[in-house]
Structure formats: structure tokens, C-alpha cells
Symmetry: C2
Subunit: 176 residues, 2 copies
């Protein structure tokens, strides 16, 4: 993976999380990275290809984070709390969840992106279900759904009100 491509993904990730995928252009991206906008098309032929790469990258990052937590020798409760911290980190940079953002923009991102967003949230829920099962929950699947809903919604509210604590409050009851 070229350095330019990596830089493009990093900047595009931040712009998507702050302004939305429809809230920035190849020109914005080019100026930040220090190349011409036409050069971006070499790395991502169309903007939708960038969207796909972003969701896949975010998905891979999440899978890595969850696998690391599985490997670590801590309780399921602490694993879940660590995952919350992972998402909570967005708020201090005034970011929203990249996949939540694209889920909001769903009707404009195209079917290929939609498919990958579904996969992202399915894996997040599956991992949470596993943790809740390990904690002895019978309704682990529903609990995982409640958790993801509260997570995405609280990230939205926390950024709006500039109160990172909102995320912890919204998820408090669901952890154990």
C-alpha cells in the first residue's frame, strides 16, 4: 500500500467522520494531502470506491480491536468497557462513527457500500452477543442490538452536546 493512498484514506476517514462523506470533495482531500485532485482518481477511480475502501478499513480496524480484546486475559465486562472506550475516543475529536455516518447517508452511497455497512454492524453485534453470552445472558442477541443502538445514538448526542460522558451514561445499564 502506497504512502499516498494511506494518507488519502486517513484524511478521508477524518473528513467523513466530521463532515460526512457528502460533506467533502476530492479537492478538499487533495489540498490536505498535498497533491492535485486528479491524482486521487489514480488511487480511487470514483468516489464510491473511496467510500468502499473506507468502510472496509473501518471494519478491519474493528475486527482487529475485537480480536485483540478476545486475546487479552480480562473479563467480558472489561472487554465491553474497552470497546466503549474505542468508540468514545471519537468524541474528543468531534467525530462520529464512520459507519454510522454512512448509514445516515445511506440513500446516497450506493448498494455496495450499504452491503458493507450491514456486514460491519453484524460483526459488531455478533461480538457483543458473544460477550453477553459469556456473562450468562439469555437474551444476549437482543442485548447486543440494544447496545449497538445506544452506542450509535449516544455518539451522535455526545458530539452534539459536546459531552463525552453521554456515551457512558447511555450504555451504563447494558454493560453487565
Amino acid at each position: 500500500m502506497s504512502d499516498t493512498r494511506e494518507q488519502l484514506l486517513e484524511v478521508a476517514e477524518r473528513l467523513t467522520q466530521t463532515k460526512g462523506f457528502n460533506g467533502f470533495s476530492y479537492l478538499d482531500l487533495a489540498e490536505e494531502v498535498g497533491i492535485k485532485n486528479s491524482s486521487i482518481h489514480y488511487h480511487f477511480k470514483a468516489k464510491v470506491d473511496l467510500a468502499i475502501a473506507l468502510v472496509e478499513r473501518t471494519h478491519d480496524d474493528l475486527l482487529t480491536a475485537m480480536a485483540d480484546l478476545d486475546k487479552s486475559n480480562i473479563t467480558p465486562e472489561k472487554r465491553i468497557k474497552s470497546l466503549i472506550s474505542y468508540f468514545q475516543g471519537y468524541i474528543k475529536e468531534e467525530k462520529y462513527c464512520l459507519c454510522g455516518m454512512m448509514a445516515a447517508e445511506l440513500q446516497t452511497v450506493g448498494p455496495k457500500v450499504k452491503k458493507r455497512l450491514v456486514a460491519y454492524f453484524a460483526d459488531l453485534q455478533a461480538w457483543l452477543e458473544k460477550q453477553f453470552k459469556a456473562l450468562g445472558h439469555k437474551d444476549a442477541k437482543v442485548r447486543a442490538l440494544q447496545f449497538v443502538s445506544a452506542l450509535e445514538g449516544s455518539l451522535l448526542l455526545a458530539r452534539l452536546e459536546n459531552k463525552p460522558s453521554v456515551v457512558g451514561q447511555a450504555l451504563g445499564n447494558l454493560i453487565k
Copy 2:
């Protein structure tokens, strides 16, 4: 209020809830309403003025709906369930919450819109807190926050997965 202005608000509301406020243009709006895009500027000088009117309208609608529920002779539990139905109605039209959508697009809508989004969610939470207090909850305020978070997040997931039932599942534990 002129009929054209009202039509513009109705179409803009739907487009915002489906494609996002940055996902449609004055031209899209004009074609649906059947006027020229330059005519829209007579009703809403700049696009940000349209955004403000949309949030205020959505806020007013919510206040009316909540006031109606307060007047009706039903239990707080049923009031809350009715409010859920109010939001759940969006899903079958593949819409997201207008204020949730603009909260996602926060960094591009400007400070005036942000201020009104904060007011919208504050009133929604305040009403819910009142209902939870009537149900005897000591942590009514936190519960209201949990409810709004789960509501906004579940609306996002329900639309993505085309499963309206997700909203009820995500909020189930929080109602009573």
C-alpha cells in the same frame, strides 16, 4: 403561510430524512414542487434558512405530538409507546429522524441549526424524563438519555437492515 412554502418544506423534509440535508439541491426541490430553483430563494434566501425552518418545524411537530399525549387519558407507559410509534413510522418510508440526520451532518449545517438541534433533543429528553418520573423512576433523567440514544441509533439500524422491529427491540427494556 403560502402553499408553495408549505410544499417546499414538505418535500425538503422528506429529502432530508432520506438523502440528508447535503444530499439534495434547490434544483431537486424545485423540480418536485414544480417551480424554478431561483423561486425557492424568495421563500428561503439561503439554504441554511431552509435548514433552520425544517428543524423548527420538526421541533414544533414533536411538541404538538407530546402535548397531545399529555392531554390523552392514558398511562405514561402508553404515552411512551405512542411516541415510539411516532418515530417508528419513519422506517417504512425509509426515512431517518430529521434532527438525527442533521446531527450527523453537524459540522456542515452551521451554528444556528446546531443550537436548534440541541433544543429539540433537550425537549424530547425532558418530556421522557417526566414520563419516567411518573412511572416512579429515580434515575428518570438518565433513563431519558438512554431512551433517546437507543431511539436514534435503532432508527439508523432499522433503516439499514430494513427491519422496523429493531426499534421496538432496542427500546423494549427501557419502557417500563
